[in-house]
């Protein structure tokens, strides 16, 4: 894309560096609270990456839903389920070698596929919120309603699970 310049390059490397460093912190930190806050930083970094892709509406949704709601939910989840020492609340299990190998294998295959493909760039384009809204109310209306139902079901399900019931014995 010709419209991008030095600022775009700088912003991309800065934001992807923040995102990946924070994501590594989420995975490798031993304190679950630190992981939860770094998760919020990761989400904000991804929102910044959306800005560099000129997807402003999606960046706003990302900041609101992920960095706002999901991160707060996760922090509340951490708060409700811990009473012992927080400093070693996020330990790795015995699968660390196998998990590392699996992650390296995945990243190897993905990098090979990304670099080995001749991407047909040049189409695509910038989308504004009005386009998204119009499509939601025309040809994407049925999945939009389905997602609304899903959110309602998830809300009711979460309330029922949190409230709890008597276990049948």
């Amino acid at each position: 894309m010709e419209s991008t310049g030095l600022m775009h390059t700088l912003a991309f490397f800065l934001l992807s560096g923040i995102t990946l460093a924070a994501a590594a912190g989420v995975v490798f930190k031993r304190n679950l609270v630190h992981s939860a806050f770094l998760l919020s930083v990761t989400f904000l970094g991804v929102a910044g990456l959306y800005m560099t892709l000129e997807a402003e509406f999606l960046a706003a949704v990302q900041a609101l839903v992920y960095s706002g709601a999901v991160a707060v939910l996760v922090v509340i989840g951490v708060m409700l389920t811990h009473r012992e020492d927080m400093s070693c609340s996020n330990p790795p299990n015995k699968m660390i070698v196998a998990g590392g190998l699996a992650a390296l294998a995945i990243v190897g295959v993905l990098v090979w596929a990304v670099l080995g493909t001749a991407w047909n760039t040049g189409k695509g384009g910038i989308v504004d919120a009005g386009d998204i809204g119009r499509r939601f109310l025309t040809d994407f209306a049925p999945p939009f309603e389905a997602v609304a139902l899903l959110l309602l079901a998830a809300l009711i399900g979460a309330v029922v699970l949190f409230k709890g019931g008597k276990e049948q014995s």
Binding site: F43, L53, A103
Partner: protein, 102 residues
């Protein structure tokens, strides 16, 4: 010049970090966080494709919005499940959730 493959590589790295966390974490909430990382990496890929190669760029962003909605529903139900298990069994360790194993 930053292009499509740069974003795809960032997405790949984020996905691998999430997968590593998913496989190696012992705490159920940390596993949920890793799943969120993986969903985010997929979203980066979708938006990058929509920006650089899609013949219908709106569709890619609509897909991402649906993924964000499903991920929000997933984390709400997942945390409610984690709390329900914690209340009943007093643990959030995935290693101890082996009641179906025999």
């Amino acid at each position: 010049m930053i292009g499509l493959s740069h974003y795809l590589l960032v997405g790949a790295a984020l996905f691998a970090l999430g997968l590593f966390g998913l496989l190696t974490k012992r705490n159920l909430i940390a596993v949920l966080m890793s799943i969120e990382l993986m969903l985010n990496s997929v979203n980066i890929n979708l938006v990058a494709f929509s920006r650089y190669t899609a013949s219908d760029p709106v569709a890619g962003q609509v897909f991402s919005l649906f993924i964000i909605a499903v991920a929000a529903a997933e984390v709400a139900v997942g945390l409610a499940l984690a709390y329900a298990i914690y209340r009943g069994r007093d643990t959030v360790s995935v290693d101890e959730m082996d009641w179906l194993k025999w």
